[in-house]
């Protein structure tokens, strides 16, 4: 059995690597459509990471919403703003080098500081099983107010998008 856990852990690191690689592709590829596909892969990796954190519901939601809705929207926008045979020029602007340097420093500092933090692991939470019903109860119980607010925000965004998108005036 131990070996299965080992496989599983290896799976996590593999997923992380694939996710990061896909993310790097997202920010470096020239063809925006390829970027979008790489982003889908990256988001899938994140969904798998959620599974490792025992958040199945969120993993599925990630797929349903991010890949099913947001990414389709994004690809649609790409289609509408690009020609089929768009041989685009450089996709990065002039500040890539300073940005990279700054981010490198940023990461170094962050990892260095992370190593110094003694996390207090809560083993009860770690072992807890959170099913969808519990989440629903939470959303409808203590978090009902933010839940309602977020639905209003969603409606506003919807209306806003429709108004922005209309061309006939």
């Amino acid at each position: 059995m131990e070996i299965l856990y080992f496989f599983a852990k290896t799976g996590f690191y593999a997923t992380a690597l694939v996710t990061l690689a896909a993310a790097i592709l997202v920010v470096t590829l020239r063809n925006l459509f390829h970027c979008a596909l790489a982003l889908i892969l990256s988001l899938l990796g994140v969904a798998v990471t959620y599974l490792y954190l025992k958040a199945e519901f969120l993993a599925i939601i990630q797929i349903l919403l991010y890949i099913g809705a947001i990414m389709t929207l994004l690809i649609f926008a790409i289609m509408l703003t690009h020609r089929l045979t768009d041989r685009s020029v450089s996709q990065t602007n002039r500040q890539s080098l300073p940005a990279f340097a700054l981010l490198a420093v940023f990461n170094i500092f962050f990892i260095a500081s992370l190593a110094a933090v003694p996390w207090k692991i809560n083993s009860a939470s770690l072992a807890a099983k959170i099913d969808t019903q519990a989440l629903g109860a939470f959303l409808m119980g203590p978090y009902v107010f933010p839940f309602e607010i977020i639905s209003i925000v969603l409606i506003i965004a919807l209306v806003g998008a429709v108004i922005l998108g209309r061309t006939d005036q």
């Binding site: 602007n93 500040q95 940005a99 700054l102 981010l103 940023f106 500092f109 962050f110 500081s113």
Partner: protein, 639 residues
């Protein structure tokens, strides 16, 4: 009775609706105005019926409190008010309906009805007032409406001028009224109608009532202005420039009667002072005679009626002045109806013939049957032919005059009565009988005009009955608040009156129907008299000479003073200011502006360098943000 305050409110609401929605409502505004007046009439009917049962009503509320004194406005309903309500709402409603037809083509149709509604509301408010100050407010409001409506066709310079003339002339009287109110308040300490009882006045005037009498006479001056009595009557003939329904409503039936109403309302006060009463009687008599005399020669159909109105108002005043309270008010009521009818009939004629000049009319009878017949009824009524309403009311005035012992007044009034009959039938014959003197395509007016005519004719015919011996002088009893009045019929006076009426009618018919040359011949013979009448006693010219001319002179003098001395001072100071400003200007330009510009110059130079920082590229900003964040982290790390 507690709902009586609604009576003026309805027309006022109609006014508000129309004045703010006139453009949109167009001809529907008439419906709103008529609705308002009919509602007012309905409520008034209820109030009147209650009053007939002997009820009176008075309600006051505090309007303003000044120290210990509080101004209490309110509603007072007694028989006099009830009668006025009856006149204003019924005659008013009829005229409203009539106006739909008369004003139909007018571009300012809805505004006309707005003004009419406002006038109606103000007049009803005036009638319902329980306080002199309240009455004065409404008094001015009706004056304002009168001004609006006389100048309704303000494109015509004559109409605009007539409006101003009416306004200013009545204001002269109103100043007297106001001063009279001040005096009265000083003497009596109250202006509440119900406080003025004979006992109260008797108590107050024990020390001597000179000021009271003066106050009464000054109040009468206000009434003179409003009711177009002798020195201040000149505005009313000119007011005929307004639309005919206005002449009928305001300048015949209601507003001009307000003066009479005021005197009647203050009758207790007047009755206390014979001097004041005498003034009223004399002025009334003079007015009655003079106006009738002028009316003899007037050629404008409306002018004739206007002078007739003045004359009849003089009758009322004379009656009141002679102590005939019931006679004056009775005549006020009957006169309102038949004079409104006369004006509306004249309006119908004008509407049909497009002319106002009597000399151009003639032979209208076959073409305008309803108008002619109703006009005839009214003419007979005003002439005092029994048993129409005018006969009874005028007869009572004559009786009052006869019994007052002043034979001169009685004779003058009797002659006036004769003249009234004469000029009315001169008018009737010239307008309706004979052959057309000019080619005019006369036609009968629409039903919306003739129906009110018929209704008013009915009222004109029968309204005398309640005050006649047949009804045992019921009206006189009612107006005195239920005290039955002992009035004995004096057959001599009746005979005189009837004789005057019939002789006047006969003479007019003979002269103008059968001997058309004779009037011209008569005019030549009595040329001075004719000229006096034709030129209205030169009163307008007299006023021009006495008041307006010197006033203009003074104005010119003052203008000179203004131009030379006042303006000179002002100009001089301006010149000095300009010089000083030039100095300041230099200082401003070189020193203040120099500093400001210098700062601006420096800022500009700095900005030119610094604005390079703002690239407009959001990602650039984000990078800087990241740099800042990193900086913060590093500082936090090595702190």
């Amino acid at each position: 009775m507690a709902y009586a305050y609604l009576i003026p409110v309805f027309p006022f609401i109609a006014f508000l609706i129309i004045i703010f929605n006139g453009k949109r409502l167009k001809h529907q505004s008439a419906a709103i105005a008529i609705g308002g007046s009919l509602l007012a009439a309905a409520v008034s009917t209820v109030v009147i019926l209650n009053t007939l049962k002997g009820a009176t009503y008075s309600h006051t509320f505090e309007w303003i409190r000044i120290g210990t004194f509080s101004l209490n406005f309110g509603i007072l309903i007694d028989p006099l008010t009830a009668m006025m309500l009856f006149v204003v709402t019924y005659v008013g409603s009829m005229i409203f309906i009539y106006s739909v037809g008369y004003m139909h083509e007018d571009p300012r149709f809805s505004r006309f009805f707005a003004y009419l509604s406002l006038f109606m509301a103000s007049m009803l408010g005036l009638v319902l007032s329980s306080h002199y100050v309240q009455l004065f407010i409404f008094w001015e409001l009706v004056g304002l409406c009168s001004y609006f409506l006389i100048g309704f066709w303000f494109e015509k310079p004559s109409a605009a001028k007539a409006g101003m003339k009416a306004f200013i002339t009545t204001k002269i009287g109103d100043v007297g009224f106001l001063i009279g109110l001040f005096l009265l308040f000083t003497c009596a300490g109250t202006l509440q109608f119900k406080d003025f009882t004979p006992e109260f006045l008797a108590a107050k005037t024990q020390a001597g009532g000179g000021l009271f009498a003066l106050a009464a006479i000054l109040i009468f001056a206000g009434a003179c202005g409003k009711s177009a009595q002798f020195p201040l009557h000149v505005w009313l003939p000119d007011a005929m420039e307004g639309p005919t329904p206005v002449s009928a409503l305001i300048h015949a039936a209601t507003m001009v009667a307000a003066g009479v109403y005021l005197v009647a309302r203050s009758f207790v006060l007047f009755a206390q002072f014979p001097q004041a009463l005498e003034v009223v009687a004399v002025i009334g008599t003079i007015t009655a005679f003079m106006a009738a005399f002028i009316a003899l020669t007037a050629t404008d159909i409306k002018k004739v009626l206007a002078y007739s109105t003045i004359s009849q108002l003089g009758y009322m005043m004379a009656a009141l002045g002679l102590g005939g309270f019931s006679a004056g008010t009775f005549h006020l009521m009957t006169h309102a109806f038949f004079k409104a009818l006369l004006f509306l009939g004249a309006g119908s004629v004008i509407h049909g013939t497009q002319t106002q000049d009597l000399r151009e009319m003639g032979g209208l009878f076959p073409r305008m049957k309803i108008t002619s017949l109703t006009f005839l009824v009214a003419a007979l009524a005003i002439s005092g032919v029994p048993p129409l309403s005018g006969f009874f009311s005028k007869d009572e005035i004559l009786l009052t005059a006869y019994e007052s012992g002043s034979r001169v007044i009685f004779l003058i009034l009797l002659v006036t009565s004769f003249m009234t009959a004469f000029y009315m039938f001169r008018l009737f014959v010239l307008a309706f009988l004979g052959k057309p003197r000019k080619k005019i395509h006369a036609h009968e007016s629409p039903a919306v005009m003739t129906v009110p005519l018929s209704v008013l004719a009915l009222f004109s015919a029968v309204l005398g009955i309640p005050g006649s011996p047949y009804w045992n002088h019921w009206f006189q009893g009612f107006i005195h608040g239920g005290h039955a009045q002992e009035i004995h019929v004096n057959l001599f006076v009746v005979k005189c009156s009837v004789a005057a009426a019939f002789s006047g009618i006969a003479l007019a018919v003979i002269l103008y129907r059968f001997l058309p040359k004779v009037p011209e011949w008569l005019a030549k013979i009595f040329k001075p008299l004719y000229l006096v009448s034709y030129n209205k006693f030169w009163l307008d010219e007299l006023y021009q000479l006495i008041f307006i001319g010197p006033f203009k002179k003074i104005s010119q003098l003052l203008f000179r003073f203004d131009a030379v001395i006042v303006d000179g001072a002002v100009n001089q100071s301006a010149v000095q200011t300009v010089n000083l400003s030039a100095l300041k200007n230099w200082f401003d330009q070189h020193i203040v502006d120099g500093t400001v510009n210098g700062v601006a110059w420096i800022t500009q130079r700095m900005s030119r360098i610094l604005r390079k920082l703002q690239t407009g590229l959001i990602q650039n900003y984000l990078l800087i943000l990241l740099l800042g964040l990193l900086f913060t982290i590093v500082i936090g790390f090595y702190r």
